[in-house]
Amino acid sequence: MFMPDPSRLRGTSLSRRRMALLGGGLVAGGVALVVLALTVASGAGTGLGLVAGTVLAYSGAVRLVWAARRRKVDLLPWLCLGWLVLLGVAALLAPWLPLPEGRNATVALTEPIYLEPLKYGDHPLGTNGAGLDLLSRAIFGARTSMVISMSAILVGITVGGLIGVVAGFYRKGVDRTIGILTNSVLAVPPLILLIALAAILDPGIRNMSFALALLTIPSMVRIGRANTIAFAQREFVLAARAMGASKARIILRELVPNVAMPLFSIAVVSISALIVAEASLSFLGLGIPQPEPTWGNMISEAQAGNTMEDQPFILIVPGLFLFMTVFSFNLLGEQAQRRWDPRSAKL
């Protein structure tokens, strides 16, 4: 006797129109709360208002899409992807964007210092203690951060993945030696290893990438090795052997393409860890030095004197950039892992 009402949505008792109204109301309320938080409230109230407003607006947007598409859609991955694309494009084009001075303090001598964000048209995110534009610094920081972590992960995948495939293919002595070597790198806690490397290397993009790559190699070796062992027992490898393919050919043409996919899904997750590691090192004053901006050394500016009490945005602006980027990579990485490498998705 039960007939589904076509005007009702699946998974809820609300009609499309009411869902759209509810969604619109939530979005409006959320936006209003954000605006209120930015204009009227102060101190901890601003933060609370911002978080609550964003959550409200997000749940409203989910309902609007639900009403429009007639089914529940998870918006968050798309938002994350959108943020990363926006940031990536901005970082890529940074030198050609019409941004105010963000790096050279002598050029910004005449600029007002400690301008608050969202109040002045020519400095949308405000300025720091030297009159340098925070938006410009954040985008150039993204550029440094992305270049370092991407090149580190590429080196890590290539070197670590290949070593792992070799270990998994030859087994025995080769495998054991490689195992002991990777365990030795893993025996030093990651941040300690980075600090030690930073202490002896000159800070610079190339050395930072090298240090971070060294950090990712052991996990890439392990994943490459485990997957190779699994694939080496499959029929197509046996077939290649029977046809008389050389060892190098089996490794490069049969094993590497199959091992690459799980390696890439791990890579997306590792990028966020690398971004955090690079930022931590800069924060400790051991990474890329000022005046070149990185999110880490921008955040460390907030520690000087009473900056955090008087100009909390010096901490909040780069902090938000860092958080949103790390969050996006974490979320997308988890989804990538669930799709392409379901076995290791648990950790």
Partner: protein
């Protein structure tokens, strides 16, 4: 038994390689340590004498074993920056601070994470589960130095609940020590809470589908007893593995927190050593943390048999 012997030799090999790496790290630095210690502009004989005294003219392998012999007997050289005290002395003074912070962080993390995981696993898919899941995922994306600064901004500067950048030794005053250590420990705990809760909750959800849980339900045991008495122990398996992995993170966030709050632990020592180029300090601190880290992970391996009897029978 044979497995234990293989593991032990591997352990020794790893420790030897790590110590060699740590030794090389400083040995290969460009620049003359004799010049660094004496300063420039002294007569050449004086440098040569010091080099001879420090053994810098010997081959690398000889110097390594000299250094290792010293390290094993507790002699890690002297700090090359003032105060020029022995490195081992400085490390010994710093280790208790770091251990206390890390242990407090871990305890706070477990005390918060286990109930949270039990609660959300019991109401899988419910409102509590979703809110806890979302906030833990968000928490996981906040680097510890950012979380620490935000907490300092709100709890120290705005509300004035906690002091900043002081350390009171336990021997001086227990309450004073706790008062100064609690906020740093909370910062250390934050990311561990997020990780522990997520992993333990996922494991509990799987365990709750097992037959023995159904049997306990059929016997009419109250839900909380099933959660705590039946489901928790088999689910804590991956939590222990994770504990091994997260020791590295724990050490990392302890370093950051000590730097943030200017606490006199290993982290501050190693960071200031790296900033000023005080290599013997960095060398000693890296060696000690690596040894601690390796030993903790070996203990984690051994504890599997205790937690899950099924692994005891497997002789691979």
């Amino acid at each position: 038994m044979r497995k234990v012997v293989v593991r032990l030799t591997e352990l020794v090999a790893v420790l030897l390689i790590v110590s060699f790496g740590v030794f090389l790290m400083v040995a290969l630095i460009p620049g003359d340590p004799a010049v660094a210690i004496l300063g420039e502009g002294k007569p050449p004989e004086q440098y040569e004498e010091l080099r001879q005294e420090l053994g810098l003219n010997d081959p690398v392998v000889v110097r390594y074993f000299d250094w290792l012999g010293g390290a094993v007997t507790g002699d890690l050289g002297n700090s090359i920056m003032p105060p020029q005290s022995p490195v081992a002395e400085r490390l010994l003074a710093a280790i208790p601070v770091s251990l206390q912070l890390a242990a407090m962080g871990l305890v706070i993390a477990l005390v918060v994470a286990i109930p949270l995981a039990l609660w959300s696993a019991a109401r899988q898919g419910g409102l509590v589960d979703r809110i806890v899941g979302a906030s833990m995922f968000g928490l996981l994306s906040i680097p510890s130095f950012l979380a620490g600064l935000l907490l300092i901004m709100v709890l120290v500067n705005d509300l004035g609940w906690f002091p900043r950048s002081q350390w009171v030794r336990v021997s001086d005053s227990l309450t004073g020590n706790l008062h100064h250590a609690i906020l740093p420990a909370i910062v250390i705990a934050l990311s561990e809470i997020a990780l522990f809760t997520r992993i333990l909750r996922n494991d509990l959800v799987v365990t709750l589908q097992e037959d023995f849980v159904l049997a306990a339900r059929a016997k009419g045991q109250p839900p909380w007893r099933i959660m705590v008495g039946d489901a928790l122990r088999p689910s804590s398996f991956s939590l222990v593995t994770l504990f091994g992995i997260s020791t590295g993170r724990l050490i990392g966030s302890t370093v950051i927190v000590e730097y943030l709050f200017a606490l006199p632990g290993m982290g501050s020592l190693i960071v200031s050593g790296a900033q000023t180029g005080n290599f013997p300090i960095v060398q000693g601190a890296v060696l000690v943390t690596a040894v601690i880290y390796v030993l903790v992970n070996s203990c984690v391996d051994l504890s599997y048999g205790f937690l899950d009897p099924r692994t005891r029978r497997v002789h691979a």
